[in-house]
Symmetry: C2
Amino acid sequence: MSNHQNVPKATLQRYPVYLKALRKLQHLGISRIMSRELSEFVDVEPTTIRRDFSFLGSLGKQGYGYDVGSLIEIFDAHLGGSFQEKLIIVGAGNLGRALMNYNRWNHVVGEIACAFDVSADKVGNAYEIPVYPMSQLKEKLPEGCRIAILSISSNVQETVDLLVEVGIKGIVDFTHEHIQVPKGVTVKAVDVVSMIQELVFETNAMK
Amino acid sequence: MSNHQNVPKATLQRYPVYLKALRKLQHLGISRIMSRELSEFVDVEPTTIRRDFSFLGSLGKQGYGYDVGSLIEIFDAHLGGSFQEKLIIVGAGNLGRALMNYNRWNHVVGEIACAFDVSADKVGNAYEIPVYPMSQLKEKLPEGCRIAILSISSNVQETVDLLVEVGIKGIVDFTHEHIQVPKGVTVKAVDVVSMIQELVFETNAMK
DNA sequence: AATCGTTTGTGAATATGTTATCATTATGTC
DNA sequence: GACATAATGATAACATATTCACAAACGATT
Protein backbone atom coordinates (compact mmCIF):
# COMPACT_ATOMS: atom_id res chain seq x y z
CA MET A 1 0.00 0.00 0.00
CA SER A 2 0.95 3.58 -0.77
CA ASN A 3 4.05 2.81 -2.75
CA HIS A 4 3.20 5.56 -5.16
CA GLN A 5 6.34 5.02 -7.17
CA ASN A 6 4.93 2.24 -9.33
CA VAL A 7 1.41 3.39 -9.99
CA PRO A 8 1.09 3.44 -13.79
CA LYS A 9 0.74 6.87 -15.35
CA ALA A 10 -2.47 5.84 -17.02
CA THR A 11 -3.92 4.82 -13.69
CA LEU A 12 -2.87 8.06 -12.06
CA GLN A 13 -4.73 10.01 -14.70
CA ARG A 14 -7.89 8.11 -13.89
CA TYR A 15 -7.79 8.74 -10.14
CA PRO A 16 -9.23 12.26 -10.31
CA VAL A 17 -11.94 10.94 -12.62
CA TYR A 18 -12.91 8.28 -10.10
CA LEU A 19 -12.94 10.82 -7.31
CA LYS A 20 -15.24 13.13 -9.21
CA ALA A 21 -17.57 10.27 -10.12
CA LEU A 22 -17.65 9.05 -6.53
CA ARG A 23 -18.54 12.53 -5.31
CA LYS A 24 -21.39 12.61 -7.79
CA LEU A 25 -22.59 9.20 -6.59
CA GLN A 26 -22.43 10.27 -2.96
CA HIS A 27 -24.41 13.34 -3.87
CA LEU A 28 -27.04 11.06 -5.41
CA GLY A 29 -27.29 9.20 -2.11
CA ILE A 30 -25.46 6.08 -3.26
CA SER A 31 -23.25 4.73 -0.50
CA ARG A 32 -22.19 1.41 -1.97
CA ILE A 33 -21.00 0.55 -5.46
CA MET A 34 -19.61 -2.34 -7.45
CA SER A 35 -16.91 -2.06 -10.07
CA ARG A 36 -19.41 -3.10 -12.74
CA GLU A 37 -21.78 -0.25 -11.92
CA LEU A 38 -19.00 2.28 -11.60
CA SER A 39 -17.75 1.11 -14.97
CA GLU A 40 -20.83 2.33 -16.83
CA PHE A 41 -20.53 5.59 -14.98
CA VAL A 42 -16.94 6.44 -15.85
CA ASP A 43 -16.58 4.37 -19.04
CA VAL A 44 -13.66 2.30 -17.80
CA GLU A 45 -13.67 -1.52 -17.72
CA PRO A 46 -14.54 -3.04 -14.34
CA THR A 47 -11.29 -4.99 -14.24
CA THR A 48 -9.29 -1.87 -14.89
CA ILE A 49 -11.12 -0.10 -12.09
CA ARG A 50 -10.38 -2.92 -9.66
CA ARG A 51 -6.73 -2.99 -10.65
CA ASP A 52 -6.46 0.79 -10.36
CA PHE A 53 -7.97 0.65 -6.90
CA SER A 54 -5.77 -2.24 -5.81
CA PHE A 55 -2.65 -0.07 -5.98
CA LEU A 56 -3.95 1.83 -2.97
CA GLY A 57 -4.77 -1.30 -0.97
CA SER A 58 -7.62 -3.76 -0.70
CA LEU A 59 -10.35 -1.20 -0.70
CA GLY A 60 -13.33 -3.41 -1.45
CA LYS A 61 -15.00 -6.45 0.01
CA GLN A 62 -15.64 -9.61 -1.95
CA GLY A 63 -19.26 -10.25 -2.68
CA TYR A 64 -20.16 -6.75 -1.58
CA GLY A 65 -18.36 -4.03 -3.52
CA TYR A 66 -16.91 -0.74 -2.38
CA ASP A 67 -18.09 1.76 0.19
CA VAL A 68 -18.41 5.11 -1.56
CA GLY A 69 -17.62 7.16 1.53
CA SER A 70 -14.45 5.22 2.36
CA LEU A 71 -13.27 5.40 -1.22
CA ILE A 72 -13.67 9.17 -1.26
CA GLU A 73 -11.71 9.46 1.97
CA ILE A 74 -8.90 7.30 0.64
CA PHE A 75 -8.67 9.09 -2.70
CA ASP A 76 -8.85 12.43 -0.94
CA ALA A 77 -5.96 11.44 1.28
CA HIS A 78 -3.81 10.35 -1.64
CA LEU A 79 -4.72 13.19 -3.96
CA GLY A 80 -4.13 16.01 -1.56
CA GLY A 81 -7.56 16.63 -0.09
CA SER A 82 -6.31 16.30 3.44
CA PHE A 83 -2.85 17.82 3.41
CA GLN A 84 -3.29 21.50 2.75
CA GLU A 85 -1.20 22.36 -0.25
CA LYS A 86 -0.18 25.98 -0.55
CA LEU A 87 -0.57 27.04 -4.15
CA ILE A 88 0.56 30.18 -5.89
CA ILE A 89 -0.73 31.80 -9.04
CA VAL A 90 1.82 33.43 -11.29
CA GLY A 91 0.22 35.97 -13.56
CA ALA A 92 -2.79 37.93 -12.34
CA GLY A 93 -4.31 38.80 -15.70
CA ASN A 94 -7.72 37.75 -16.96
CA LEU A 95 -7.16 34.06 -16.53
CA GLY A 96 -5.27 34.34 -13.26
CA ARG A 97 -8.11 36.34 -11.78
CA ALA A 98 -10.69 33.90 -13.05
CA LEU A 99 -8.77 31.17 -11.27
CA MET A 100 -8.58 33.18 -8.05
CA ASN A 101 -12.30 33.67 -8.20
CA TYR A 102 -12.85 29.93 -8.32
CA ASN A 103 -13.63 29.57 -4.66
CA ARG A 104 -13.68 25.82 -4.98
CA TRP A 105 -10.11 25.41 -3.87
CA ASN A 106 -10.39 25.22 -0.15
CA HIS A 107 -10.58 21.71 1.21
CA VAL A 108 -10.43 20.22 -2.25
CA VAL A 109 -6.75 20.33 -2.93
CA GLY A 110 -5.37 23.08 -0.74
CA GLU A 111 -5.65 26.82 -1.05
CA ILE A 112 -4.26 29.61 -3.14
CA ALA A 113 -1.92 31.40 -0.77
CA CYS A 114 -1.05 34.33 -3.00
CA ALA A 115 -0.39 35.49 -6.53
CA PHE A 116 2.42 37.27 -8.33
CA ASP A 117 2.49 39.64 -11.28
CA VAL A 118 5.06 41.82 -12.99
CA SER A 119 2.90 44.82 -13.69
CA ALA A 120 2.46 47.13 -10.74
CA ASP A 121 -1.22 47.81 -11.41
CA LYS A 122 -2.12 44.17 -10.80
CA VAL A 123 -0.47 44.20 -7.38
CA GLY A 124 -2.76 44.50 -4.40
CA ASN A 125 -5.67 42.26 -3.63
CA ALA A 126 -7.88 40.25 -5.94
CA TYR A 127 -10.79 38.26 -4.60
CA GLU A 128 -9.24 38.37 -1.13
CA ILE A 129 -5.99 36.90 -2.36
CA PRO A 130 -2.86 39.06 -2.05
CA VAL A 131 -1.04 39.82 -5.30
CA TYR A 132 2.67 40.60 -4.92
CA PRO A 133 5.12 41.96 -7.47
CA MET A 134 7.11 39.27 -9.25
CA SER A 135 10.32 40.66 -7.79
CA GLN A 136 9.23 39.55 -4.31
CA LEU A 137 8.74 35.92 -5.33
CA LYS A 138 11.49 34.61 -3.08
CA GLU A 139 10.40 36.47 0.06
CA LYS A 140 6.66 36.01 -0.27
CA LEU A 141 6.67 32.38 -1.38
CA PRO A 142 4.72 30.42 1.26
CA GLU A 143 6.63 27.91 3.35
CA GLY A 144 6.59 24.47 1.74
CA CYS A 145 4.93 25.62 -1.48
CA ARG A 146 5.63 23.16 -4.25
CA ILE A 147 3.01 23.87 -6.86
CA ALA A 148 2.53 26.95 -9.05
CA ILE A 149 -0.20 27.80 -11.51
CA LEU A 150 1.24 29.63 -14.46
CA SER A 151 -1.14 32.07 -16.17
CA ILE A 152 1.19 34.57 -17.81
CA SER A 153 1.53 35.35 -21.50
CA SER A 154 5.04 36.74 -21.88
CA ASN A 155 8.52 35.98 -20.54
CA VAL A 156 7.31 32.46 -20.03
CA GLN A 157 10.52 30.43 -20.01
CA GLU A 158 12.25 33.12 -17.97
CA THR A 159 9.55 32.94 -15.32
CA VAL A 160 9.60 29.15 -15.29
CA ASP A 161 13.35 29.19 -14.61
CA LEU A 162 12.70 31.55 -11.72
CA LEU A 163 10.06 29.26 -10.25
CA VAL A 164 12.34 26.25 -10.52
CA GLU A 165 15.06 28.23 -8.80
CA VAL A 166 12.93 28.93 -5.72
CA GLY A 167 12.02 25.26 -5.41
CA ILE A 168 8.71 24.77 -7.25
CA LYS A 169 8.28 21.09 -8.11
CA GLY A 170 5.03 21.07 -10.08
CA ILE A 171 3.66 23.57 -12.59
CA VAL A 172 0.15 23.75 -13.95
CA ASP A 173 0.86 25.47 -17.23
CA PHE A 174 -1.82 27.62 -18.83
CA THR A 175 0.47 29.27 -21.36
CA HIS A 176 0.31 28.33 -25.01
CA GLU A 177 4.05 28.08 -25.27
CA HIS A 178 6.38 25.19 -24.96
CA ILE A 179 8.35 25.26 -21.71
CA GLN A 180 11.36 23.33 -20.50
CA VAL A 181 12.10 22.20 -16.94
CA PRO A 182 14.88 20.15 -15.35
CA LYS A 183 14.35 16.58 -14.17
CA GLY A 184 12.42 16.44 -10.94
CA VAL A 185 9.98 19.15 -11.93
CA THR A 186 6.67 18.14 -13.48
CA VAL A 187 4.61 20.23 -15.88
CA LYS A 188 0.95 19.63 -16.55
CA ALA A 189 -0.06 21.60 -19.59
CA VAL A 190 -3.61 22.91 -19.58
CA ASP A 191 -3.96 24.15 -23.09
CA VAL A 192 -7.39 24.63 -24.59
CA VAL A 193 -5.94 24.94 -28.03
CA SER A 194 -4.14 21.61 -27.71
CA MET A 195 -7.33 20.00 -26.46
CA ILE A 196 -9.25 21.31 -29.43
CA GLN A 197 -6.52 20.15 -31.77
CA GLU A 198 -6.85 16.64 -30.41
CA LEU A 199 -10.62 16.83 -30.73
CA VAL A 200 -10.38 18.05 -34.31
CA PHE A 201 -8.04 15.21 -35.19
CA GLU A 202 -10.27 12.59 -33.61
CA THR A 203 -13.49 14.05 -34.96
CA ASN A 204 -12.00 14.02 -38.44
CA ALA A 205 -10.97 10.41 -38.03
CA MET A 206 -14.56 9.44 -37.30
CA LYS A 207 -16.04 11.28 -40.24
CA MET B 1 -0.69 8.67 -45.02
CA SER B 2 -3.51 10.44 -43.22
CA ASN B 3 -5.31 7.33 -42.10
CA HIS B 4 -6.07 8.92 -38.78
CA GLN B 5 -7.96 5.90 -37.59
CA ASN B 6 -4.89 4.02 -36.40
CA VAL B 7 -2.78 6.73 -34.86
CA PRO B 8 -2.18 5.57 -31.28
CA LYS B 9 -3.81 7.66 -28.59
CA ALA B 10 -0.50 8.28 -26.90
CA THR B 11 0.91 9.65 -30.13
CA LEU B 12 -2.06 11.89 -30.68
CA GLN B 13 -1.53 13.48 -27.29
CA ARG B 14 2.02 14.36 -28.24
CA TYR B 15 1.18 16.07 -31.53
CA PRO B 16 0.18 19.40 -29.96
CA VAL B 17 3.34 19.27 -27.88
CA TYR B 18 5.48 18.86 -30.98
CA LEU B 19 3.66 21.67 -32.72
CA LYS B 20 4.26 24.05 -29.85
CA ALA B 21 7.93 23.09 -29.63
CA LEU B 22 8.37 23.51 -33.38
CA ARG B 23 6.83 26.97 -33.22
CA LYS B 24 9.28 27.89 -30.48
CA LEU B 25 12.18 26.59 -32.55
CA GLN B 26 11.04 28.54 -35.60
CA HIS B 27 10.82 31.62 -33.43
CA LEU B 28 14.43 31.02 -32.36
CA GLY B 29 15.43 31.00 -36.03
CA ILE B 30 16.03 27.27 -36.27
CA SER B 31 14.86 25.94 -39.61
CA ARG B 32 16.18 22.39 -39.50
CA ILE B 33 16.11 19.83 -36.72
CA MET B 34 16.97 16.21 -36.06
CA SER B 35 14.93 13.86 -33.92
CA ARG B 36 17.80 13.67 -31.43
CA GLU B 37 17.83 17.43 -30.90
CA LEU B 38 14.07 17.70 -30.73
CA SER B 39 14.15 14.92 -28.16
CA GLU B 40 15.99 17.00 -25.57
CA PHE B 41 13.60 19.80 -26.28
CA VAL B 42 10.35 17.95 -25.67
CA ASP B 43 11.65 15.13 -23.44
CA VAL B 44 10.50 12.32 -25.73
CA GLU B 45 12.83 9.62 -27.08
CA PRO B 46 14.09 10.24 -30.64
CA THR B 47 12.71 6.92 -31.86
CA THR B 48 9.30 7.72 -30.46
CA ILE B 49 9.38 11.07 -32.23
CA ARG B 50 10.30 9.47 -35.54
CA ARG B 51 7.57 6.88 -35.20
CA ASP B 52 5.01 9.50 -34.20
CA PHE B 53 5.92 11.56 -37.25
CA SER B 54 5.85 8.56 -39.56
CA PHE B 55 2.10 8.16 -39.10
CA LEU B 56 1.66 11.37 -41.08
CA GLY B 57 4.03 10.34 -43.87
CA SER B 58 7.76 10.41 -44.54
CA LEU B 59 8.36 13.88 -43.26
CA GLY B 60 12.12 13.85 -42.90
CA LYS B 61 15.16 13.14 -44.99
CA GLN B 62 17.76 10.56 -44.12
CA GLY B 63 21.08 11.98 -43.07
CA TYR B 64 19.55 15.42 -42.82
CA GLY B 65 16.64 15.67 -40.41
CA TYR B 66 13.38 17.57 -40.63
CA ASP B 67 12.53 20.95 -42.01
CA VAL B 68 10.88 22.93 -39.20
CA GLY B 69 8.69 25.00 -41.49
CA SER B 70 7.31 22.01 -43.38
CA LEU B 71 6.62 20.16 -40.15
CA ILE B 72 4.64 23.09 -38.78
CA GLU B 73 2.59 23.25 -41.97
CA ILE B 74 1.83 19.54 -41.85
CA PHE B 75 0.90 19.49 -38.18
CA ASP B 76 -1.18 22.60 -38.65
CA ALA B 77 -3.07 20.94 -41.45
CA HIS B 78 -3.78 17.83 -39.44
CA LEU B 79 -4.56 19.56 -36.16
CA GLY B 80 -7.05 22.04 -37.47
CA GLY B 81 -4.90 25.08 -38.19
CA SER B 82 -6.11 25.32 -41.73
CA PHE B 83 -9.73 24.22 -41.66
CA GLN B 84 -11.61 26.89 -39.78
CA GLU B 85 -13.43 25.20 -36.94
CA LYS B 86 -16.41 27.06 -35.58
CA LEU B 87 -16.33 26.85 -31.80
CA ILE B 88 -18.93 27.84 -29.27
CA ILE B 89 -18.53 28.71 -25.62
CA VAL B 90 -21.27 27.56 -23.29
CA GLY B 91 -21.31 29.63 -20.12
CA ALA B 92 -20.27 33.28 -20.23
CA GLY B 93 -19.22 33.68 -16.62
CA ASN B 94 -15.76 34.57 -15.38
CA LEU B 95 -13.99 31.74 -17.08
CA GLY B 96 -16.03 31.89 -20.27
CA ARG B 97 -15.22 35.56 -20.65
CA ALA B 98 -11.54 34.95 -19.96
CA LEU B 99 -11.59 32.42 -22.77
CA MET B 100 -13.35 34.81 -25.13
CA ASN B 101 -10.71 37.40 -24.39
CA TYR B 102 -7.97 35.02 -25.49
CA ASN B 103 -7.53 36.49 -28.91
CA ARG B 104 -5.21 33.69 -29.85
CA TRP B 105 -7.93 31.63 -31.45
CA ASN B 106 -8.02 32.93 -34.97
CA HIS B 107 -5.90 30.96 -37.37
CA VAL B 108 -4.68 28.66 -34.65
CA VAL B 109 -7.54 26.24 -34.43
CA GLY B 110 -10.55 28.10 -35.73
CA GLU B 111 -12.59 30.84 -34.16
CA ILE B 112 -15.13 31.28 -31.44
CA ALA B 113 -18.32 31.94 -33.34
CA CYS B 114 -20.53 32.77 -30.39
CA ALA B 115 -21.34 32.01 -26.77
CA PHE B 116 -24.43 30.96 -24.85
CA ASP B 117 -25.58 31.63 -21.30
CA VAL B 118 -28.75 31.05 -19.30
CA SER B 119 -28.77 34.29 -17.37
CA ALA B 120 -30.19 37.22 -19.30
CA ASP B 121 -27.64 39.72 -18.00
CA LYS B 122 -24.80 37.86 -19.67
CA VAL B 123 -26.50 38.01 -23.05
CA GLY B 124 -25.23 40.65 -25.46
CA ASN B 125 -21.66 41.04 -26.56
CA ALA B 126 -18.45 40.17 -24.78
CA TYR B 127 -15.11 41.00 -26.36
CA GLU B 128 -16.79 41.29 -29.76
CA ILE B 129 -18.30 37.83 -29.51
CA PRO B 130 -22.11 37.58 -29.46
CA VAL B 131 -23.62 35.93 -26.39
CA TYR B 132 -27.04 34.35 -26.94
CA PRO B 133 -29.50 32.98 -24.42
CA MET B 134 -29.21 29.24 -23.87
CA SER B 135 -32.74 28.77 -25.18
CA GLN B 136 -31.61 29.79 -28.66
CA LEU B 137 -28.91 27.15 -28.86
CA LYS B 138 -30.52 25.30 -31.74
CA GLU B 139 -31.17 28.36 -33.90
CA LYS B 140 -27.91 30.19 -33.30
CA LEU B 141 -25.57 27.21 -33.47
CA PRO B 142 -23.17 27.87 -36.36
CA GLU B 143 -23.38 25.62 -39.40
CA GLY B 144 -21.04 22.64 -39.04
CA CYS B 145 -20.10 23.40 -35.46
CA ARG B 146 -18.81 20.25 -33.76
CA ILE B 147 -16.88 21.48 -30.76
CA ALA B 148 -18.13 23.25 -27.65
CA ILE B 149 -16.22 24.69 -24.73
CA LEU B 150 -18.13 24.13 -21.52
CA SER B 151 -17.55 26.75 -18.83
CA ILE B 152 -20.70 26.58 -16.75
CA SER B 153 -21.03 25.69 -13.09
CA SER B 154 -24.59 24.44 -12.68
CA ASN B 155 -27.02 22.22 -14.60
CA VAL B 156 -23.98 20.61 -16.10
CA GLN B 157 -25.25 17.20 -17.19
CA GLU B 158 -28.48 18.75 -18.42
CA THR B 159 -26.56 21.16 -20.62
CA VAL B 160 -24.31 18.42 -21.92
CA ASP B 161 -27.34 16.40 -22.99
CA LEU B 162 -28.60 19.45 -24.84
CA LEU B 163 -25.30 19.91 -26.65
CA VAL B 164 -25.23 16.27 -27.68
CA GLU B 165 -28.76 16.63 -28.97
CA VAL B 166 -27.86 19.46 -31.34
CA GLY B 167 -24.95 17.48 -32.75
CA ILE B 168 -21.86 18.51 -30.79
CA LYS B 169 -19.17 15.82 -31.16
CA GLY B 170 -16.40 17.15 -28.95
CA ILE B 171 -16.54 18.93 -25.60
CA VAL B 172 -13.74 20.75 -23.83
CA ASP B 173 -14.98 20.44 -20.28
CA PHE B 174 -14.01 23.09 -17.74
CA THR B 175 -16.51 22.03 -15.10
CA HIS B 176 -15.40 20.22 -11.97
CA GLU B 177 -18.16 17.70 -12.25
CA HIS B 178 -18.27 14.30 -13.78
CA ILE B 179 -20.21 14.23 -17.03
CA GLN B 180 -21.54 11.41 -19.18
CA VAL B 181 -21.83 11.34 -22.97
CA PRO B 182 -22.97 8.71 -25.50
CA LYS B 183 -20.50 6.86 -27.74
CA GLY B 184 -19.28 9.02 -30.58
CA VAL B 185 -18.90 12.12 -28.44
CA THR B 186 -15.50 12.89 -26.94
CA VAL B 187 -14.88 14.83 -23.75
CA LYS B 188 -11.56 16.41 -22.87
CA ALA B 189 -11.63 17.43 -19.24
CA VAL B 190 -9.65 20.55 -18.38
CA ASP B 191 -9.71 20.47 -14.64
CA VAL B 192 -7.13 22.43 -12.68
CA VAL B 193 -8.04 20.60 -9.52
CA SER B 194 -7.45 17.22 -11.16
CA MET B 195 -4.14 18.44 -12.50
CA ILE B 196 -3.06 19.55 -9.07
CA GLN B 197 -4.20 16.27 -7.61
CA GLU B 198 -1.98 14.41 -10.04
CA LEU B 199 0.91 16.74 -9.23
CA VAL B 200 0.43 16.23 -5.50
CA PHE B 201 0.42 12.47 -5.97
CA GLU B 202 3.58 12.51 -8.07
CA THR B 203 5.39 15.05 -5.92
CA ASN B 204 4.67 12.91 -2.86
CA ALA B 205 5.99 9.83 -4.65
CA MET B 206 9.29 11.57 -5.23
CA LYS B 207 9.73 12.75 -1.68
C1' DA C 1 31.15 9.94 -59.64
C1' DA C 2 32.14 7.27 -55.78
C1' DT C 3 32.66 7.14 -50.83
C1' DC C 4 31.80 8.44 -46.14
C1' DG C 5 29.18 9.90 -42.38
C1' DT C 6 24.81 10.77 -40.74
C1' DT C 7 19.89 10.34 -39.79
C1' DT C 8 15.51 8.68 -41.09
C1' DG C 9 11.89 5.06 -41.14
C1' DT C 10 10.59 0.43 -40.02
C1' DG C 11 10.47 -4.60 -38.56
C1' DA C 12 11.54 -7.07 -34.38
C1' DA C 13 12.04 -7.08 -29.37
C1' DT C 14 10.78 -5.27 -25.16
C1' DA C 15 8.08 -2.97 -21.82
C1' DT C 16 3.87 -1.14 -20.25
C1' DG C 17 -0.94 -1.24 -19.75
C1' DT C 18 -5.53 -3.65 -20.20
C1' DT C 19 -8.76 -7.40 -20.13
C1' DA C 20 -10.29 -12.40 -19.16
C1' DT C 21 -10.39 -15.97 -16.01
C1' DC C 22 -10.81 -17.85 -11.68
C1' DA C 23 -9.85 -18.91 -6.81
C1' DT C 24 -10.94 -16.57 -2.59
C1' DT C 25 -13.64 -14.47 0.74
C1' DA C 26 -17.04 -11.76 2.22
C1' DT C 27 -22.35 -11.04 2.71
C1' DG C 28 -27.01 -12.48 3.22
C1' DT C 29 -30.30 -16.42 3.63
C1' DC C 30 -32.37 -20.49 5.39
C1' DG D 1 -24.27 -22.01 11.87
C1' DA D 2 -23.72 -23.93 7.24
C1' DC D 3 -24.64 -22.80 2.41
C1' DA D 4 -25.35 -20.34 -1.73
C1' DT D 5 -24.40 -16.14 -4.03
C1' DA D 6 -21.67 -12.60 -5.66
C1' DA D 7 -17.92 -9.46 -6.27
C1' DT D 8 -13.15 -8.66 -5.27
C1' DG D 9 -8.11 -9.19 -6.18
C1' DA D 10 -4.56 -11.68 -8.35
C1' DT D 11 -2.52 -14.43 -12.00
C1' DA D 12 -2.28 -15.20 -16.72
C1' DA D 13 -3.36 -13.86 -21.60
C1' DC D 14 -3.67 -10.20 -24.52
C1' DA D 15 -3.15 -5.53 -26.58
C1' DT D 16 -0.90 -1.30 -26.95
C1' DA D 17 3.03 1.54 -26.87
C1' DT D 18 8.06 2.24 -26.64
C1' DT D 19 12.67 1.23 -27.71
C1' DC D 20 16.33 -1.26 -30.19
C1' DA D 21 18.81 -2.19 -34.17
C1' DC D 22 19.67 -1.80 -38.81
C1' DA D 23 18.86 -1.13 -43.86
C1' DA D 24 17.92 2.58 -47.03
C1' DA D 25 18.64 7.23 -48.39
C1' DC D 26 20.33 11.72 -48.45
C1' DG D 27 24.04 15.44 -48.14
C1' DA D 28 28.78 16.49 -47.98
C1' DT D 29 33.44 15.63 -49.38
C1' DT D 30 37.05 14.17 -52.18
